[in-house]
């Protein structure tokens, strides 16, 4: 059996970057643990200091197929090209080339509108 994993992103604004990727992939914010209405309520219940509440954000595939994405606050910015990145699939190999181009262009426009460059 293969091992499960999540993909973790360093971020200066975990919640903001999580919102971008949720929109990009059709993911949703991970719901708070059972018994808690919101993440704030959970954080308060387990005694996480308020200044640490925005240290992490997690998004999940609502269909349960794709891996969880976790965003963690780090002090430093990006200094070099990452050697690990995500490819977002919008077309299938069997999709005709014209149609694939159109799908990719539409997705790119959508991502730029959501804050990508």
């Amino acid at each position: 059996m293969s091992l499960g994993f999540q993909v973790t992103f360093d971020a200066s604004d975990p919640a903001g970057l999580a919102r971008f990727w949720a929109k990009a992939l059709g993911y949703i914010e991970q719901p708070p643990p059972p018994g808690h209405e919101t993440w704030e309520e959970f954080a308060r219940a387990v005694g996480i200091p308020e200044e640490d509440w925005d240290n992490l954000a997690a998004i999940v595939d609502p269909d349960g197929d794709g891996p969880r994405l976790l965003f963690q606050k780090v002090p430093e910015g990006k200094t070099a090209k990452n050697r690990v990145h995500l490819d977002v699939n919008v077309a299938r190999r069997e999709t005709p080339e014209d149609e694939r181009h159109a799908l990719v262009e539409r997705k790119v426009a959508e991502l730029v509108a959501a804050g990508a460059s």
Binding site: G66, R83, V84
Partner: protein, 144 residues
């Protein structure tokens, strides 16, 4: 419906890094199309020069659950910590007692060291325990 993703790694030696992640995750080399017995046979028939055979490697989850990994050759090495990394989940999460998680994680770290990873160090925080590691080309990843 959510978009599917694939994970892409830059590498100096895609086959070697791909073999590591096959061992690490229990993935398999993506099979060539049924018309070809091997990727070498495919590359020969496509007229791809020998020196380009190791330009890329794709590995997949044999169970069909996890995303495909595409490992592509690049000339440069790692110059800074990646801002994207994988966390391998073996410990069972918060529902599993910390002691138990710790021993499962440590056993997995030992297995991964045996297939070419190196240990950067363990982290214990609140009720959490994980170990930071590097793959064969220095990419950070964690075992939880």
């Amino acid at each position: 419906m959510a978009r599917t993703i694939q994970i892409v790694f830059d590498a100096n030696d895609p086959a070697r890094l791909g073999d590591f992640w096959i061992e690490a995750l229990g993935y398999v080399l993506q099979p060539p199309s049924p018309d070809f017995e091997s990727w070498d046979a495919w590359a020969t028939s496509m007229g791809i020069p020998d020196e380009n055979w190791n330009d890329a490697q794709a590995i997949v989850d044999p169970d069909g659950n996890g995303p495909r990994f595409f490992i592509q050759r690049v000339p440069e090495g790692e110059s800074a910590k990646n801002r994207v990394h994988l966390d391998i989940a073996v410990g069972g999460g918060p529902g599993t007692p910390l002691d138990e998680r710790r021993s499962v994680v440590d056993a997995e770290v030992e297995r991964l060291t045996g297939v070419g990873a190196s240990v950067a160090g363990p982290v214990a925080q609140r009720d959490e325990y994980w170990v930071v590691m590097h793959d064969r080309e220095g990419n950070e990843f964690c075992v939880h």
